[in-house]
């Protein structure tokens, strides 16, 4: 694995520490969906830091987040949070961990229960952890304000809101228990361009205020550069490059990261033409383009 910039493994003050993680799913017999597999992934996240995790579909980037959250069983390796092993945590320990570890999913349309009002959705985590109903209601109001949604949203159903607004509700839900680490699993990929910017800026603002750390999973290099302090690039279940965001996304060393970077088109005609030419050269240099995958 290429380390660009600061060495990423074995940071002394890490909040989350993943070491040599292996995850695999049993085969189903059909060839259709390839299952994500992790082949010994190691990474650290420090308090208040955003680690961007970039990869294409099937790379395993979503699986890492799900493994941290306990939604997926791990084969081997370790996940340590605040010094304590969590990959072996039992159900009751997991429930306690939910105070510290939260998630924002990709799809704003299915990550909120369509039958519950916004207020109910937001108060679920609070009530589930023993808060009283009145106190929960007050907290819901605060959360809505925090994500810049009107307070009357609490009585409405998700379908009355746009994708961007729903995603903000999802963020509010993640914040309800004052987490220290939030797994952001492609939180803006399903949103419009203009909405993306607002949601990303909201996430940054929250990090500024609360010092929460993010594991920010995405396939978009420009988004990851905007959001992350450090970036890790994953391919086929293994990390190929990690380092400071700026370094990895503007001057990547690993050919895969380079190919990724050059493949994403930019909104400038002359620049894009130049990048196309570089990409073509890179393709000839490393052999056949990714025709087998596409």
């Amino acid at each position: 694995m290429t380390d660009t910039g600061t060495t990423a493994s074995a940071l002394p003050d890490a909040l989350l520490r993943i070491r040599d993680l292996h995850v695999s799913y049993p085969g189903k017999g059909w060839r259709a969906p390839r299952t994500e597999v992790l082949n010994g992934v190691s990474l650290d996240i420090r308090p208040g830091e955003t680690l961007g995790l970039v990869g294409e579909s099937g790379s395993g980037k979503t699986t890492i987040g799900r493994a941290v959250l306990g939604l997926v069983p791990t084969r081997s390796g370790s996940i340590t949070f605040d010094g304590e092993r969590i990959d072996t945590a039992g159900p009751s320990r997991r429930r306690e961990l939910s105070r510290d570890l939260q998630v924002v999913f990709q799809d704003p349309y299915t990550s909120l229960n369509p039958s519950l009002t916004i207020g109910d959705t937001l108060s679920e985590p609070l009530l589930g952890h023993g808060m009283g109903a009145r106190e929960a209601r007050g907290r819901v109001g605060d959360l809505l304000a925090r994500v810049h949604l009107p307070s009357d949203a609490a009585g409405r159903l998700p379908r009355e809101f746009s994708g961007g607004q729903r995603q903000r509700v999802a963020i509010a839900r993640a914040l309800a228990l004052h987490p220290r680490l939030v797994i952001c699993d492609e939180p803006v990929s399903a949103l419009d361009l203009t909405t993306r910017r607002t949601v990303l800026e909201l996430l940054l603002e929250i990090q500024e205020e609360t010092g929460v750390a993010y594991l920010f999973v995405t396939h978009d290099l420009s988004v990851v550069r905007f959001m992350s302090h450090r970036v890790a690039v994953i391919k086929g279940g293994s990390l190929v490059e990690t380092g400071d965001a700026h370094a990895v996304t503007t001057g990547p060393r690993h050919p895969y990261t380079r190919a990724l970077m050059l493949s994403a088109p930019v909104a400038d005609v002359t620049q894009q033409r130049r990048r196309r030419e570089s990409a073509a050269l890179l393709g000839r240099g490393t052999g056949a383009p990714a025709v087998n995958q596409g």
Partner: protein, 313 residues
């Protein structure tokens, strides 16, 4: 594909054994004292005991079952306790009647439901509403009620078909047709109502798919798309329902055979269950289950053949 079929046959065999065991167990529960029933209340105890012994009823249930099973796999289903006829022959003799009834209904249902369902699913509007109304009527009226009405109208009033009786196909095809028509019609009403609904729904779902739009964009006419692509993709859910309906058909056949006096397995079930004649009941249950397993196997195989993903499994 062959592995798939083999696995289903094996599963069916297991099902048969389990059901036969449970049935035998349950049938042996009541203290029926068959001997006494056969010889009458006045007979003395010794004779009754001798009779029971001769039927093997003094042995433990498990032994009785094992004995029955051992004979059954060799094709010997024993003799009826009450009529002393060979069970195998008796039941097999009545199979063709029920078979022609149920298979006739299945055929009619398949053809009519597909036509109706495709018509309703493609045209929507009035055709759709008609099929839905048909569905309500078919579900709402219990099968035997429909049968009674049909008998009243077509047999009693109009006298187009006989109300009672059965002519085997081998005797006279025309007679067979005339005696089988009303029974098939009675059962087909409910069947068509259910399956055409499912076909209509499946057709509507397929027509909404992206690939139908893309095929249109390439210049294919709607009729072509419907008869090749929609039918192919809508068949699987429809076949599923057909398979499930078959079980219900066998139950409905019981009533229909009673009403029309058809000498089939259904009417046999009614007569012999009232008597508690275990060998016969066991045979009836077995044949029924075999029929269900075979039909489901056929349906699953066809669905598998239609769906390339399942074929690979």
């Amino acid at each position: 594909m062959l592995k798939f079929i083999a696995r289903r046959i094996a599963a069916g065999a297991v099902l048969l054994v389990v059901i036969s065991f449970l049935s035998y167990l349950l049938l042996s529960v009541p203290d029926a004292d068959v001997g006494r029933q056969l010889l009458g209340q006045g007979a003395d105890q010794a004779a009754v005991d001798a009779k029971n012994a001769s039927l093997g009823l003094d042995r433990p249930v498990l032994t009785q079952y094992a004995d029955w099973l051992a004979h059954a796999v060799r094709g010997d289903l024993g003799t009826s306790w009450f009529t002393s006829e060979d069970v195998g022959t008796a039941v097999a003799g009545r199979l063709p009647v029920t078979a022609s009834l149920t298979l006739g209904v299945t055929l009619v249902t398949t053809v009519v439901s597909f036509l109706l369902g495709v018509w309703a699913g493609v045209r929507r509007g009035a055709a759709d509403r008609f099929v839905q109304v048909l569905g309500v009527i078919g579900y709402a009226l219990p099968g035997f009620l429909v049968t009674l009405v049909i008998v009243l109208v077509f047999a009693v009033n109009l006298n187009w078909f006989p109300a009672i009786g059965y002519t085997a196909f081998t005797e006279s095809p025309g007679g067979w047709l005339s005696t089988i028509t009303l029974p098939v019609l009675s059962l087909a009403v409910a069947s068509v109502a259910g399956v055409s609904q499912q076909v209509r729904g499946a057709v509507v779902d397929v027509l909404r798919q992206d690939y139908v739009r893309t095929l249109r964009a390439r210049g294919l006419p709607t009729s072509r798309i419907v008869f090749r692509h929609v039918l192919r993709n809508a068949s699987a859910p429809a076949l599923s329902v057909l398979g499930m309906q078959f079980v219900g058909l066998l139950g409905g056949a019981v009533l229909v055979e009673q009403i029309f006096g058809l000498p089939g397995i259904g009417s046999m079930t009614v007569t012999y269950t009232t008597r508690g004649d275990i060998p016969v009941i066991m045979a009836l249950v077995m044949f029924t289950v075999i029929g269900v397993v075979l039909i489901n196997l056929l349906v699953d195989t066809m669905i598998g053949w239609l769906n390339p993903k399942a074929r690979a499994a």
